[in-house]
């Protein structure tokens, strides 16, 4: 079946979005999803001329939602790797990854190699998990938590020395004035986020890529980045 045709016929775009991974996806006081990924979902739906239907997902079930055709797109800050690419297709990058490794001031860390002997908390399956697994030295311990909240709680309760997360999240932690004030040690580079689609949906893939490209040029994606990440889109995205 042609997914794009289905979407147009249906008049809705069903998108899997996170609700436990700020700033990409979390909830407001009315429990409605909000965040970078949600805004992108709405943007794409708008450009397709259909309504967006947001399906909140977790890291464990976001891809099964796609595989069983319960959603058309997964906009859930997906990172890309070879194994994942065997199973689903990825669009062009739609979000930069401003996530970094954070730790209290008294820990001297400047690059991945300095993580030796340290423990790092990450959210399982997130981009930083994939990246850090690649670049962290062998004797660094990566602790993978279910969601962002687990990662942050582990850091605040001292269960890990450092965490990898977004700068906006780190700012939110700082605002709560914890005893361990996280400061950015280094940025995890070159690992943007992609939109996930089912394989063999060339029409939809092409359309989504076109929308992303347009949004990059007309500044609407940059606005989303400013709003949620507090920074401009990097030029190389």
């Amino acid at each position: 079946a042609d997914a794009l045709a289905d979407i147009t016929a249906r008049g809705t775009l069903r998108v899997a979005v996170p609700q436990d991974f700020p700033p990409f996806g979390s909830v407001g006081t009315d429990m409605a999803p909000m965040g970078y990924d949600i805004d992108v979902a709405n943007l794409i739906a708008e450009k397709l001329g259909v309504k967006a239907e947001l399906v909140p997902v977790t890291s464990a079930n976001r891809v099964p939602y796609l595989q069983t055709n319960k959603v058309d797109l997964v906009i859930s800050s997906l990172g890309k790797n070879a194994e994942r690419e065997k199973v689903i297709d990825f669009s062009a990058a739609y979000a930069p990854f401003f996530n970094g490794v954070f730790a209290p001031a008294d820990l001297s860390i400047a690059k991945a190699e300095d993580l030796a002997g340290k423990s790092i908390g990450v959210t399982r399956g997130a981009v930083e998990d994939l990246e850090l697994t690649k670049i962290a030295p062998a004797d660094a311990t990566i602790k993978r938590y279910e969601d962002n909240n687990g990662t942050i709680s582990a850091f605040l309760s001292g269960q890990v020395d450092t965490i990898a997360t977004g700068n906006v999240v780190a700012a939110a932690i700082l605002a709560k004035n914890p005893p361990k004030r996280p400061e950015m040690k280094f940025l995890i580079k070159n690992s943007p986020c992609y939109i996930g689609l089912n394989k063999e949906q060339a029409a939809l893939l092409e359309k989504v890529n076109a929308i992303i490209a347009a949004a990059k040029t007309d500044g609407s994606l940059n606005a989303i980045s400013q709003k949620w990440l507090g920074a401009d889109l990097p030029s190389d995205l």
Binding site: S59, A60, N61, V63, P64, Q67, T68, N81, E83, R84, K86, V87, I88, G121, R124, G125, D129, L130, K143, R144, Y145, E146, G150, S153, A154, L156, S157, G158, Q159, N198
Partner: protein
């Protein structure tokens, strides 16, 4: 069906799966042994123990039995550090298992103790044993034997429930499944394999418990 199942690639991840199985086995071994021991102690307190301890144990049992395991786990792992007790995730998971099974087995074992004929207590005491000696040597074994099937079921339930420890990064079998699916996006294969392993573990565990029962209870003598 558009999805193509492929299981061969899972072999690549066998170290994660083996490690997961071992952690799950460790959780159930430690949780089972210490949890039942704690359950015996609490059952003794509730049935025969000193009056001042009874409300303490009762509160513990009610709190644990009426809140989800996951929440208990969070409080142990994320909460205890604020009291200065920092436990590694596996220790925290083990502790949560012991505390959880302790509360459930307490109630089961207590029922077994209460079903003991009064004459057994009296016979023990009239042989000059203290109340505790009577409990330890006369009452305990037949009581456990009486409720062993119920206790075994509870142990299996707690073993299956242990899967949530993956949420505090304890690398059990469910963690392995989640880890694999997060790398490969092949959730179906990962979960089907882990579910099958859980089923095998549950069946084996039941048999091991039946064997243990056969060893510690020499005969079907409980009335």
């Amino acid at each position: 069906m558009s999805y193509h199942f492929e299981f061969g690639w899972l072999l690549e991840y066998y170290p994660e799966i083996i490690k997961g199985i071992l952690v799950t086995l460790e959780l159930i071994a430690i949780g089972g042994v210490l949890g039942i021991a704690l359950g015996i102690f609490c059952a003794w307190v509730r049935a025969l123990g000193p009056a001042w301890l009874k409300p303490v144990v009762a509160t513990y049992v009610e709190l644990i039995r009426n809140t989800p395991f996951l929440i208990q786990l969070f409080f142990i792992f994320f909460g205890l550090p604020s009291l200065g007790l920092q436990l590694p995730e596996l220790t925290a998971a083990n502790l949560a298992m012991v505390i959880n099974l302790g509360a459930y087995s307490c109630e089961i074992i207590r029922a077994g103790i209460q079903a003991t004929p009064k004459g057994q207590f009296e016979a023990g005491e009239s042989l000059a044993m203290t109340r505790f000696e009577t409990f330890r040597h006369v009452v305990l074994v037949p009581s456990l034997q009486r409720i062993w099937p119920a206790l075994s079921s509870q142990v299996v339930i707690v073993m299956l429930g242990s899967s949530v420890v993956s949420q505090i990064a304890a690398e059990d079998l469910t963690f392995a499944a989640n880890f694999i699916q997060s790398r490969t996006f092949r959730a179906f294969e990962a979960y089907i394999v882990s579910t099958s392993i859980y089923l095998v573990l549950a069946i084996l565990l039941r048999q091991v418990l039946a064997m243990v029962g056969g060893l510690i209870f020499p005969r079907r003598a409980a009335r």
